[in-house]
């Protein structure tokens, strides 16, 4: 490896831990990175900001050696290098905590870590080291527990500890707080600050501007694959950073003043259901009502029964007691998804690729997927193609779906655009009841704002809206009442105005126990 002192700033006392210059990376049909510069100093917490599709993930994958740049240079501690692959990156001292964990549920914590670590595989020694590291950084973790019994926050700790065991000098965190409670976020920030004070650099990817302001020393902003600028988040306001990110002002959703609450549209009474998933959470006497004209938010950490509840509400999982789920006055527990849809239900599932939409099919066909019933797109058992195309076109126009056309495959759309398409498809069916799961998960700020606005408008037009989300900010921004799901129980609902983030956070389970058997009582 050739030794090259980095450029003119070599005279400066501090050599950047990692310096990228003019990184280019193209994929067929799009330029994901276009001359991106990034410089991370030792011990710095550096934010990487950008909308979805801005090229953050691509850049990070290049740093971690998963992708290779088409052009540009990478210098590690002043030395020009070529990161051949992830193991090369790990040997340099780069650790990465992915947004989606890659853990084996049936294995223990230590076994999972052993799988990702090269070299020493003596289990008892490894367990001791895990305990040592997790205690040192305030990341309590029992190495002998099986992963399926852990909360998401605990699972993330595994990934972090796995990185820490390698003594990283640069830790990359991809959207780490999207699955954590506020209390867990505080703990995580403590750990990160501690690491940074010990000289470990951190590259922190997030779209939560408040967090970045709170945590990071520097921010690099990407837009459309290009380097837009760097800023000091402490000097900026979230609004000004958002402006850099999307090159435009974000429209804040306008919460309506007093919700015109109408009659009960969805009534769930004493719904108990055993999960189909062996690692799932059973529903325990879930009871709530959603009224016309209101947005009802259900908070909670993933895996506390939300999936089971959503399946029972959408009709993908039938409920033996038909009266446990009542839609528009009609007992619906034993009705399938299509029957419920004809009662006025629209549903936006959490997973858009492969649940809410079929990636391999065109947008027209995806419009037909859920729209065929209420939009009457079937005639004599045949698909009415002109009408379907018209409907798809209308969705794209009304909800600003950016695509090459309605014949584009769903997989060709970015996450945010596909989500807008799905939300639009459901809203244009004029539902009486809209159920949306994680409506803005992984969606950029601009798209999230327009999705929020659409949901608020829908409620204002008299529909009942149920939003299940892990993002508390989102629920506080749009919902009129909030309840918390924990271990299959649903807390009593309370008006958003009369509660605080901390209160909800505590209900979500500060000790993060999806496994714990706790009954939550809310006065």
């Amino acid at each position: 490896m050739e030794l090259e002192v980095a450029r003119s700033d070599a005279a400066e006392p501090v050599v950047p831990r990692l310096e990228l210059r003019g990184i280019d990376k193209s994929f067929p049909g799009c330029k994901a990175n276009d001359g991106v510069d990034l410089s991370i100093l030792p011990g710095e917490i550096h934010a990487l900001l950008g909308e979805n599709g801005a090229g953050k993930s691509t850049l990070v994958k290049i740093i971690y050696g998963i992708l290779h740049a088409d052009a540009g240079t990478i210098a590690w501690e002043g030395q020009k290098t070529h990161i051949a692959g992830p193991s090369f990156a790990r040997n340099l001292g780069i650790g990465m905590v992915f947004q989606h964990f890659s853990l084996f549920e049936a294995l223990t914590v230590a076994e999972n870590i052993a799988l990702g670590v090269e070299g020493d595989h003596d289990m008892s020694r490894l367990e001791a080291r895990i305990e040592e590291v997790s205690a040192a950084y305030g990341l309590p973790l029992d190495p002998r527990r099986h992963v399926h019994s852990l909360s998401v926050g605990e699972r993330q700790r595994i990934e972090i500890v796995r990185c820490l065991l390698q003594d990283p000098r640069l830790l990359i965190m991809d959207e780490p707080t999207s699955v954590l409670t506020p209390q867990e976020v505080d703990t995580l920030f403590g750990t990160l600050r501690r690491l940074s004070s010990e000289g470990c650099s951190i590259l922190y990817i997030s779209h939560k501007l408040d967090e970045i302001k709170q945590l990071c020393d520097t921010a690099t902003v990407l837009r459309g694959g290009k380097f837009v600028g760097a800023c000091d988040p402490k000097e900026e306001s979230p609004q000004s950073m958002a402006r850099m990110m999307i090159g435009d002002d974000v429209k804040e959703p306008k919460p309506q003043g007093d919700a015109q609450v109408g009659e009960v549209v969805l009534s769930v009474a004493d719904l108990s259901l055993q999960s189909q998933d062996p690692f799932g959470t059973d529903l325990k006497a879930v009871t709530f009502n959603v009224h016309a004209g209101e947005i009802f938010g259900i908070a909670g950490i993933a895996g506390n029964g939300q999936n089971e509840l959503l399946a029972a509400l959408s009709g993908e999982q039938l409920v033996p007691d038909g009266a446990a789920v009542v839609i528009g006055g009609q007992p619906s527990g034993r009705l399938g998804p299509r029957r419920r849809r004809s009662l006025g239900l629209s549903f936006v599932p959490e997973e858009r690729h492969g649940h809410g939409a079929v990636p391999a099919l065109r947008l027209t066909e995806n419009a037909f997927l859920s729209g065929h019933l209420r939009e009457k797109l079937v005639r004599w058992g045949l698909i009415d193609f002109p009408k379907t195309a018209e409907y798809a076109q209308k969705i794209c126009e009304s909800f600003d779906v950016r695509t090459s056309g309605i014949n584009a495959e769903a997989s060709s759309l970015s996450g945010g655009n596909l989500q807008k398409f799905i939300i639009g498809r459901e809203i244009l069916q004029r539902p009486n009841l809209m159920i949306a799961a994680q409506p803005t998960w992984g969606v950029d700020a601009g798209a999230a704002a327009s999705i929020h606005q659409a949901l608020i408008d829908l409620a204002a037009s008299g529909a009942a809206v149920l939003v299940v989300s892990q993002e508390l900010d989102e629920l506080f921004a749009i919902s009129d009442r909030i309840a918390v799901m924990s271990s299959g129980h649903l807390s009593a609902a309370r008006p958003t105005a009369a509660t605080t983030l901390e209160e909800i956070g505590l209900l979500m389970g500060g000790d993060g126990g999806a496994a714990g058997e706790r009954m939550i009582n809310v006065a």
């Binding site: 067929p28 049909g29 993908e316």
Partner: protein, 363 residues
């Protein structure tokens, strides 16, 4: 990494339809080279393989006769394959069709009714349908893999046929040969073109192709089948009923295979024999895939595979080449088709990987 497959942004629609033709062209070129290497004049050999079998009306009729069962079975299988229902027991369902429909012909041996043939067709279809209902039930009730159950039932069907032709179906005047009586005229499919064996079944097959095309490309049912095959979770989201679609695809496949079996015994064979199919039900799996699970494609693929049977026989007789040539051609065709498929969806990149590799080692 010198060679890399990169997905192309958008798949060209025209190319999707052109690939089978391209694959055929490549097969022809390779075939010519192969014949040349074997010491034959490639043009002559190619002529003998591809042209001479269908150079007269009788040959064309034979082509259609061979393609009919292939196409009928493949259409039914393709419907299932689209929904991830892997029925590979068309051979058994075909056999049951022959047993049930043909049994009716024997039972009403003296009948001259015009209703006999339609009744036989119905019985044949029902026989195949019933045979396919077994794997469907086992799959939905006990989660038994339909690949295994449908395949195993094929052997049961063959043994059942053997039992019948050695027993109840045996021709009383047949000197104990394990064959049934020759069917009466009222039980035979009318020949459509004088001087050939082209029977009414071929027309039915074309009709089935058209109906299947309508179902696959235009109908709500076809859409449900497609979605359930691509992403079962999305099908559940839309409320498409998995159970119903498994039943539908398996029963349709069974009925079409049963019909194909009946057409064999009431058409070219004219009686029930211990062996009524040279593996049409299995070859139909290749036909379905070469035809891209699309009815029109299956029509073409069925004719092509039928031609490879005829061609193989011709070169065997005329040039003394082994029958294995048929298999070689079928294999080449499949290989080229798959290769073309890959190249249309993906682009091969040499330079990027190579240059980076070079940079990696140089730095």
């Amino acid at each position: 990494m010198l060679l890399k497959l990169e997905p192309r942004g958008e798949t060209s629609r025209a190319m999707i339809y052109l690939t089978p033709l391209l694959a055929i062209l490549l097969t022809l070129i390779m075939g010519a080279i192969l014949f040349a290497l074997l010491g034959h004049n490639p043009l002559e050999a190619m002529y003998a393989f591809f042209i001479s079998p269908i150079s007269n009306s009788y040959g064309l009729g034979e082509l259609a006769v061979k393609a009919t069962p292939l196409i009928l079975c493949a259409i039914g299988l393709a419907l299932g394959f689209r929904a991830n229902v892997w029925n590979i027991g068309a051979e058994g369902q075909l056999t049951l069709g022959a047993i049930c429909g043909g049994g009716l012909a024997l039972w009403f041996y003296d009948s001259e009714s015009v209703f006999l043939l339609p009744a036989m067709a119905l019985a044949g279809a029902l026989g195949g349908l019933a045979w396919a209902a077994i794997p469907a039930f086992l799959k939905l009730r006990f989660n038994a893999n339909e690949i295994l159950t449908s395949l195993m039932l094929t052997y049961v069907a063959t043994l059942l046929l053997s039992l019948l032709v050695h027993g109840p179906y045996r021709d009383p005047d047949g000197f104990n040969f394990p064959e049934s009586r020759l069917f009466a005229d009222s039980a035979l499919l009318p020949v459509m073109v004088e001087g050939t064996r082209l029977h009414l079944g071929a027309a039915v097959a074309v009709f089935v192709v058209l109906v299947a095309w309508l179902v696959v490309s235009r109908s709500f049912i076809g859409f449900q089948i497609k979605v359930i095959g691509l992403t079962p979770a999305a099908a559940g989201y839309a409320g498409f009923r998995h159970h119903s679609l498994v039943w539908l695809t398996l029963l349709t496949g069974g009925a079409l295979a049963g019909l194909a079996g009946l057409f064999e015994v009431a058409g070219p064979i004219g009686q029930i024999t211990p062996v009524i199919s040279p593996g049409y039900g299995f070859t139909a799996i290749i036909v379905a895939f070469v035809g891209r699970l699309h009815p029109i494609g299956i029509l073409g693929a069925g004719l092509l595979i039928a031609l490879s049977y005829l061609g193989g026989e011709t070169v065997q007789i005329e040039m003394g080449l082994p029958q294995a040539v048929t298999g070689v051609f079928q294999g080449m065709l499949l290989f080229f088709l798959l290769a073309c498929d890959v190249l249309i969806r993906y682009r091969v990149r040499w330079s990027i990987g190579a240059s980076q590799e070079a940079r990696g080692t140089a730095s």
